[in-house]
């Protein structure tokens, strides 16, 4: 077996999952989901491993990974914050909330805070337009978020109060 520069135990979990799939044709997206769940993101070696296991070209795996916005090749923070940028949220000032989040977390480049605690991203409409603007943290929905609320939302996830 080729050497992969990733956690061996996690790789084994992924391998067991792939082995458990009967119908391998069309399984790629499901496998990538699982891999991202295990590793938190999809580094190059994980993609290579998947390609060899499924007996498909690595280019195809890379093509699919980069096509869908759900998949990421960058490590993510401990908590993932998604600001809804659907139209309803946008017209109610979601862009200002996003700006404030990035400011409070000192994010200037990329999406992750320097302490690795948070990744801030935007997504397209969670369908809770009645509560616009909406922020999702690890799947929990916060509705009618104002710029002033940003600090208290972040505090909910900062261990033992503020670390910054």
């Amino acid at each position: 077996m080729a050497k992969y520069d990733v956690d061996a135990e996690k790789l084994k979990t992924l391998e067991d999952y792939i082995d458990s799939i009967e119908q391998k044709e069309g399984a790629l997206i499901g496998v990538l989901y699982k891999a991202q769940e295990i590793f938190g993101y999809l580094p190059k070696d994980v993609q290579l491993f998947i390609a060899r296991k499924l007996k498909i070209p690595a280019a195809k795996v890379f093509g699919v990974t980069t096509f869908y916005s759900y998949f990421t090749m960058e490590p993510r923070g401990k908590h993932v914050i998604n600001v809804c940028m659907g139209t309803a949220c946008f017209v109610k000032g979601a862009d200002k909330v996003l700006e404030e989040l990035r400011k409070q977390l000192n994010i200037t480049e990329g999406n992750m805070s320097p302490d690795g605690m948070f990744t801030v991203d935007s997504l397209r409409c969670v369908g809770a337009c009645g509560l616009a603007p909406v922020v999702m943290v690890d799947g929990k929905v916060y509705g009618r978020v104002k710029v002033e609320d940003v600090k208290s939302i972040l505090d909910d996830y900062r261990e033992g109060g503020s670390t910054q």
Partner: protein, 596 residues
Amino acid sequence: MPIRMELLVCGGTGCQASNSNRVLEVLREEIKNANLENEVSVLMTGCFGFCEKGPIVKVMPDNVFYVEVDEDSARKIVAEHVVKGRVYQEKLYVEPDTHEKLPEQSKIPFYKKQLRIALRNCGKIDPENINEYIAADGYMALGKVLTEMTPEGVIDVVKKSGLRGRGGGGFPTGVKWEATRKSKSDIKYVICNADEGDPGAFMDRSILEGDPHSVLEGMAIAAYAIGAQFGYIYVRAEYPLAIHRLRIAINQARELGLLGKNIFGTDFSFDVEIKIGAGAFICGEETALINSIEGGRGEPTVKPPYPAQVGLWKKPTNINNVETFANVAPIILNGADWFASIGTEKSKGTKVFALAGKVNNVGLVEVPMGTTLREIIYELGGGIRGGKKFKAVQTGGPSGGCIPAEYLDTPIDYDNLTALGSMMGSGGMIVMDEDDCMVNIAKFYLEFSCDESCGRCTACRVGNKRLLEILNKITEGKGEMEDLEMLKELAETVRDSSLCGLGQTSPNPVLSTMKFFYDEYLAHVRDKECPAGVCKELLKYYIIPEKCVGCTACAKVCPVNVIHGEPKKVHVIDRDGCIKCGQCYKTCRFGAITRK
């Protein structure tokens, strides 16, 4: 003792985000404390649609509709209404004009003009219990179809009903079924398109969360009609609750033999699998969706051949959207004539709209086709929030356009909206007021289309990018008059030469705003002004001398030190050096700083 009372708690995503789960727990605790568990049941239902006033609790059979219920008022509802039999007045809906309290759901203006077919069970039944769906005539249509009708007969009814695809294009559903029926193949597929990607549209989510069996039943009927044995529901990953409830629904239907082999003791077998999307708007396009289910990049392919001939795994495939499937069972049970009697000449039945934006009552509404925009926005929607002036309503998401005030009396149907340069789309309806800049809105949608363009064809991949660059230039105050001509010409080129629906409709927001709000474009380009005061680079900050008290607060926060003036005297902004950061505007406590 039989159950004498039911408390229905909304469990849609909107109400859950407003803490309806906790309200449900409190109601159950209080009922237990009052020893009424055997007489009163508490149920979590699907979306009531009135997200604005959530969490919602409805008491049956008293038919009392409580809004904005929190933990405290949940306790009071039990103490007052359930125990003492008195309506708890504090949480009734208050009609904003008359200040009258309206306990009955059907009297509330938001519900008055609604006719619920696709949403018939949402907010009425527990979506996680198949027996509740069956009690509401669920799976009766499937039974009728399998035991009394031929596949051709089913197609005939659907064709005569005039049902058209609710996902956007409005293609006649019966014709689509017939085409798939006629394709010869041993294996065929039915796909439910639940990749509801339009920002601001959430009707499919609400149906899946509130009444998942109505979709499964519609799919099974379609499968029988076209001769399919297997179905997929392609649902977006952003809808975890919908996926959860669909899984429950599929398992319960399998247990009762309503999915699986030999349904209702006939030769018909049908089963369904959920496929979860991975965040690509283009996958709502049917050929792209098929590529995605096959595990590849969700890029569209050239049509023809249509999926009805060559679809999933190269087999004939019928794809309809969630709301379309939810309409099927009522059509079978009530007949084609009943359905065709609702709506306009060419658009039959009802349509669910997700009303959002600057309107008082945000939520889901289902109205007969032909209802006017004005009725939806002003009667159901309760008018514009904060007494502001209506500017436009955007329908059809990134594929649609912005419709101005002079067309508010247009009866809504597929063809009227298309004639206005917009489209029905999946039914998003975003209301905009005087504070929204239409150039900026066009830019917002174009950014979306650029992000979501799959990159396969040049017109969409490069054309939209160039359109966005021109719009950026205009909103930054660097636009020239010839940019406007170029914008229009290029938008038309992208529309006419793109491969799939995404590219063909992506210029609609630009073209429709240019058509109806050309003066705003002119103001940006010629006068370098943004009339709505949105485009930052075009804003100019002024100090109103009469209001300025000379507190110096603005001068202190100005990062570039361009505000001058002595303490207790009127200050002045030197606009040459101003970077338009807006700090002074935010800081002034006297409302003395204005921007235009």
